[in-house]
């Protein structure tokens, strides 16, 4: 049963990707609906099937192993081809190294006899995220891409939907498979798919950025394959789950660091962050996919799976410091950005840093926080990205300043994106809850706590700024609002998910996370002392009364509605120092030469203090230093 | 009668003399506009060490006097004022309020003219 579901989860997206290739554009809408339903159903099926390991052995293993081999060769050849075609020497060099390593491992590494899939609660969570959010994004894309292509005179939707669906397939494989060799294949396929998607526009900028993404991820790929070789040659480990349970935890530290570096690269952590920012050139659904449900999650997925290998070791502390550093640095970087997508990108990197920091701390509370943050972050961030894309189509700009007054023109959209933002920074929503959990968990480590504290203040600033701007009641840009079901259904659905998951946070914790943390940390008896009675989320060191806050939120809205008509509102113009223009625009005022000017206000971006280039350089230096420290630590100890 | 009075004949001469006086360290104090013989008389008042120098220039009825704001920036306000009040038009104003320095479209036009 489990096996069938696993196969279904991998093959169904592949099937859909070929259907997208085969069928005409007019049918995409229906395909996407079908895909969404299949995704939801199959992922829920997996959850219902329960956890367990599935071995693939014997003849079917041989068959699959061959397919894997062929695919791996194809991947390498493809990268060779495109790099040569676009004369991208760095990727060419990297893929050459990769090819050498692959050849080496093919010849020298002992062959395994079987492969296995390991379905634990974490995999279930990831499958839910990938298949529900991922397909929702594809559904959104069917409503989005026509408009997008019309503006840019492109006609590449076949490639687009094919890559998107294939991406999901690879991601499904990645989160379920336990054998490192296969995991590596899926890993490389996601890299490749993202490469294709980033290069979607086929202009100079997108191609450069796509190659940058490819190069940085290939570096991760190289460390990944080196780690595989080391693990299998030195320790005879070929399964992910075996690393943590290995008796020689300290000894495997070097390959673990290498795997973590691969994870950092995939999750676009500090020295690698530029690929994710560059990926912004792609259409918004791609960004949403990369940022929320797929690509970057693969990195943190791997790192969390490795938690047992570094929990409560100096390496763990190094990783925690590294992650929290990325958190504060990218939050600071986001402060000076006025391009909405860049703000979101930095916010993603920062939140992934937070996840990695929590994983690094390695206490039960922290690991629970890390997994929960993956869930809540994926939903909220996906909603934010898709809304940003829709805003861009509505007002023709992704500049935060231009969104001023959006509430007047697109109330539903504004409400949805506001929900997304509020869920990122205010209680009682999930992201803040997990931030609270990780802060409490990090309190044992001063450096990590201070980084988290600073980062969280910065986060508040850049989101509140944006939130205030869209909710302000002055419209500066012309807006064309079009309500399409295939765009608004996914948005509303995600908004609903935010609220529902935040309300159901405790059942989610109980069902998915608690057992997972127990297995990961191998602490059968001392389960994380978190309980959830009375609408409180209580740990040994604090309590988060999310239910009360939900009630108070609802109460506030009720009070507002009740009192709204007690004092009849009398609309009036703005205070313009007495120089209003009543005929044309409420924000106009008469100036010195007798004509009218429009008043406008831009937010504070602190570009001089939080200057992007300066901070980025600083971030590079410190993050590379931190990684080197981790490596040295591992080698020396 | 005012002391240090200089009669100026042409506008180019005026600009030249004002420029010379500026180089000589004179400060622009003000300019006075009077109605005279259908046209206007402009009296430029310049000051150096508490001693005033006055330049008189007669603006013919349809003449557009040259603005002094290129030499002394501060001349722009008084010149704009005379555009409002006397309906003169100065050429080359640094900021031209187009007759709306003080007056609005519904207020009396050129009240001093």
């Amino acid at each position: 049963m489990l096996k069938t579901t696993i196969m279904l989860l991998i093959t169904a997206p592949i099937l859909f990707s070929f259907l997208f290739l085969a069928l005409g554009k007019s049918l995409y809408k229906f395909l996407a609906w079908a895909f969404f339903i299949v995704g939801v159903v199959s992922s829920i099926m997996l959850v219902l099937d329960g956890t367990g390991k599935v071995e693939v052995a014997g003849s079917s293993f041989a068959l699959f192993e061959n397919i894997v081999l062929i695919l791996e060769v194809l991947v390498i050849l493809f990268v060779f081809y495109v790099s040569a075609k676009h004369k991208s020497w760095p990727t060419l060099a990297l893929i050459a190294i990769q090819a050498v390593i692959a050849a080496y491992s093919y010849m020298n590494v002992a062959k395994v006899e079987s492969a296995s899939f390991n379905i634990d609660q974490f995999s279930q969570v990831m499958i839910l995220i990938v298949n529900i959010i991922g397909t929702a994004i594809i559904l959104f894309a069917t409503g989005y891409m026509d408009h997008y292509e019309k503006h840019r005179h492109l006609d590449r939707q076949k490639t687009f939907f094919f890559s998107m669906s294939f991406f999901l397939a690879a991601m499904n494989g990645l989160v379920m498979v336990d054998t490192l060799g296969w995991l590596y294949l899926f890993w490389e396929i996601t890299t490749l798919c993202s490469f294709v998607l980033i290069a979607y526009n086929q202009d100079e900028e997108s191609i450069t950025n796509a190659f940058r993404a490819l190069a940085l991820n290939l570096i991760g790929g190289i460390t990944f394959s080196l780690a595989i070789i080391m693990l299998s040659v030195k320790f005879d480990i070929s399964n992910l789950s075996a690393i943590g349970t290995s008796s020689t935890t300290a000894a495997v530290a070097l390959p673990v660091v290498l795997l973590c570096i691969a994870g950092f690269a995939k999750s676009a952590q500090m020295p690698f962050q530029s690929w994710l920012l560059g990926a912004m050139v792609a259409p918004t659904p791609v960004s949403a996919l990369l940022h929320s449900s797929t690509m970057v999650n693969a990195g943190v997925f791997l790192i969390i799976k490795l938690v047992p290998a570094f929990a409560n070791t100096p390496l763990g502390i190094a990783i925690a410091v590294y992650g929290s550093f990325t958190f504060v640095m990218c939050s600071a970087l986001a402060l000076s950005q006025r391009n909405a997508k860049r703000v979101l990108a930095y916010s993603t990197i920062a939140n992934l840093g937070l996840i990695i920091a929590s994983a690094g701390i390695g206490s039960p509370l922290a690991v629970a926080a890390a997994i929960m943050l993956i869930i809540f972050h994926a939903i909220s961030k996906c909603l934010l990205f898709l809304c940003t894309g829709e805003i861009e189509h509505t007002i023709g700009s992704r500049d935060i300043e231009d969104m001023s007054g959006l509430i007047k023109k697109a109330p539903l959209l504004t409400m949805l994106i506001s929900l997304g933002m509020i869920s990122m920074l205010l209680p009682p929503f999930g992201v803040l809850l997990t931030k609270w959990v990780s802060m409490e968990a990090a309190s044992s480590n001063p450096i990590v706590s201070i980084f988290l504290i600073l980062g969280s203040a910065l986060t508040t600033v850049y989101y509140v700024k944006w939130l205030g701007t869209i909710l302000s009641s002055s419209m500066d840009k012309n807006a064309v609002h079009h309500l399409k079901p295939e765009t608004y259904f996914p948005l509303s659905f995600l908004g609903l998910c935010i609220v529902v998951t935040s309300i159901l946070v405790f059942p989610i914790y109980d069902y998915f996370i608690k057992p997972q943390v127990t297995t990961l940390l191998n602490i059968v008896n001392i389960v994380p002392t978190v309980s959830g009675q009375g609408g409180q989320f209580t740990s040994e060191i604090g309590a988060f009364a999310y239910a009360v806050i939900f009630i108070v939120f609802a109460l506030a809205i009720l009070i507002y509605l009740a009192t709204k008509n007690m004092f009849t509102p009398r609309p009036a113009g703005y205070y313009m120092c007495g120089e209003n223009n009543l005929e044309k625009d409420k924000l106009m005022f008469r100036n010195g030469i007798g004509s009218y000017d429009k008043s406008s206000v831009s937010n504070i971006y602190l570009q001089d203090i939080f200057e992007e280039n300066k901070l980025t350089t600083l971030g590079y230096v410190i993050s590379i230093l931190l990684i080197v420290v981790a490596l040295v630590e591992v080698v020396v100890l | 009668m005012l002391e240090n009075n200089v009669e100026i004949k042409s506008s180019s001469e005026l600009l030249k003399i004002v420029q010379e006086l500026k180089n000589d360290g004179y400060r622009y104090a003000t300019m006075i506009c009077l109605k005279a013989n259908d046209g206007h008389e402009l009296i430029y008042v310049l000051d150096k060490n508490y001693v005033l120098k006055t330049l008189r220039y007669f603006v013919k009825p349809s003449e557009k006097p040259k603005s002094m704001s290129g030499i002394y920036l501060c001349a722009l306000l008084i010149e704009n004022e005379y555009q409002d009040l006397f309906g003169l038009t100065f050429e080359g104003l640094a900021i031209d309020f187009k007759g709306h320095l003080y007056l609005t479209p519904n207020s009396p036009k050129t009240p001093l003219a």
Binding site: A572, G573, C577 | N106, P111
Partner: protein, 156 residues
């Protein structure tokens, strides 16, 4: 009752020579301390109760005055301080002067003098307060003043 205990003023300077303005400000300073009566100079019409006008109106500030008047929430009163605000004062027949404030908005109390002493202005505020109270009881609303009024220049 509360209205009379917390009069927040907005001070609008129209064509004033500053004589009256200074005295209005002087009312707020230690020697006269209008805050004893809860008076605050609040700065935005949206939060004001009493509009204290000094100076007469001219063609440029007339719309400013009307806009501000319209932006004060009811109940509100207008206090004209000084000869200029009451009747145009010494400037009443200047070419750019329309006249006293009551030419364009309803005025509830006047303070004579050029310029009035702070005591007189305090008297004016007190007189305005009783009007404010009666307006509040009678739910009398101020009318929105139209911007395009009948102020046409004499020689236009």
């Amino acid at each position: 009752m509360a209205l009379a205990k917390s009069p927040w003023i907005i001070h609008v300077n129209c064509n004033s020579c500053n004589g009256c303005d200074i005295e209005v400000l002087a009312c707020l300073t230690p020697l006269y301390d209008a805050e004893r009566f809860g008076v605050l100079n609040i700065g935005t019409p949206k939060q004001a109760d009493i509009m204290v006008v000094t100076g007469s109106i001219n063609y440029k500030n007339v719309n400013v005055l009307k806009n501000i008047y319209n932006q004060i929430p009811d109940p509100k009163v207008v206090l004209a301080v000084g000869a200029c605000a009451s009747t145009g004062g010494i400037f009443h027949d200047c070419y750019n002067v329309i006249g006293g404030v009551d030419q364009v908005i309803p005025v509830d109390a006047y303070v004579p003098g050029c310029c009035p002493r702070p005591e007189a202005i305090l008297d004016g505020v007190v007189a305005a307060l009783s009007v404010l109270e009666s307006k509040s009881q009678g739910k009398i609303k101020g009318k929105d003043v139209k911007l395009k009024g009948n102020e046409v220049p004499s020689n236009a």
